[in-house]
Symmetry: C2
């Protein structure tokens, strides 16, 4: 279990961190025909949240998002995109933050920096569910996948952030461009198909879906086939190596 990477743990005073702004990545996975979201529980609180984090003073915001994503999942070089900032002046609740800090064994004064107004930069990431190595730390009681439609109640506006992320994801999926990032490097057309159906929430006719996907010219068919089942085995596909 990794522990040293979360700045809050070793740094409750927030030294070297930007105040008033946080990064909240919505990390999507796909497994057993279900869209999954990564949710953490703050230690000893029963409070669930997005696996967010702060930005270091000498670090780009994008770098902070990558760092947090890598710290939580063990993955790098994944699809990660900033999609919106959430800036309502009263979107956070000092009482809730206080509970979180107390759960971490830290008793904040009323003027503690993390009790003040916070703006959140929303990112969404698409990761290969089978490759993730979820990591908790002292501030995190649990870090787990939840079915998209069965996430527990979340603090602040985190549910809104997830919903907005899904809207953006759907919009981008409609362009048929980025769905592959949620699958292992090698996959079948049916897997890709069910992924799209699940995320978009509607049926797509298999012949048309395949035609569309192949016409994009970014898939490569691998001439090996699956084994085992009592029916025709599907082709395997992967991303075309490069441009």
């Amino acid at each position: 279990m990794l522990r040293q990477n979360d700045p809050r743990e070793i740094n409750p005073q927030g030294n070297g961190l930007l105040k008033g702004i946080a990064v909240d990545p919505v990390i999507f996975g796909f497994h057993e025909n279900q869209l999954k979201v990564l949710i953490i529980e703050h230690t000893n609180t029963g409070l669930y949240a997005l696996p967010g984090g702060y930005i270091q003073e000498n670090e780009d915001v994008d770098e902070a998002a990558e760092r947090i994503l890598t710290m939580r999942t063990g993955l790098s070089d994944v699809y990660l995109e900033q999609f919106h900032i959430f800036g309502k002046y009263n979107r956070t609740d000092p009482e809730v933050v206080k509970k979180i800090l107390i759960g971490q064994g830290f008793t904040p004064t009323d003027d503690h920096w993390s009790l003040k107004r916070f703006i959140s930069v929303g990112y969404y990431a698409l990761v290969d569910y089978t490759k993730t190595r979820l990591t908790t730390d002292l501030t995190t009681g649990s870090c787990d996948w939840y079915d998209f439609d069965a996430v527990p109640p979340l603090i602040f506006d985190h549910q809104l952030i997830i919903d907005k992320a899904l809207t953006t994801l759907r919009h981008n999926l409609d362009q048929m461009l980025i769905g592959f990032n949620l699958l292992p490097p090698i996959f079948t057309m049916v897997e890709l198909h069910t992924l799209y159906e699940t995320v978009l929430g509607k049926k797509l006719l298999p012949p048309n879906f395949q035609r569309k996907m192949l016409s994009l010219g970014i898939l490569e068919r691998i001439e090996k086939k699956k084994t085992g089942k009592a029916h025709k085995s599907p082709y395997l596909y992967r991303f075309k190596p490069s441009e």
Copy 2:
């Protein structure tokens, strides 16, 4: 000339303002077949920039963007959308900020809040050029429209912000949905047509363009015609009142 609305002018200490985060709206207009951008000059510096501003502690980020837009243009209820945040840790330059403050007659200490790292929330607005009443203040030497392809060199990454805003605008225009916001309430199909051609930077065949626009079902033809010229006068259109 309005003066009292820019918090920097009456508040160089930044009391009541969020530190480390600013709003930079890219305000687009359209006039004489040219896409225009609103650019300010910081007083006594020769430094050009987007007409940005700060966020008040008790104000949503979106409200701050609206306030700044209204303050500069006199307009409210215009198309205004957050499109990206710019978070490179070294995107601003303390020396440049110092020049700006000195130009305002204020000599900052080296630890002045506005010399530190700043994150910018990028918005873009589409306004009716003919309706704007541009407003300067004590911190602003000028506030003027520039042809999109002839803006002067800008401070920081403001040119990047403009370019990214135009990319987003083009993408949205391709969906054929939001171009009307750049025109007066009543316009001809040709005006709409040249607007799209100019912004998208490509030719569109008039019959197809008209067919597409009318098929959207959001335009209403007003059965009055223009006067004067020695040729057929065009129909006038406006947005359909509501849904």
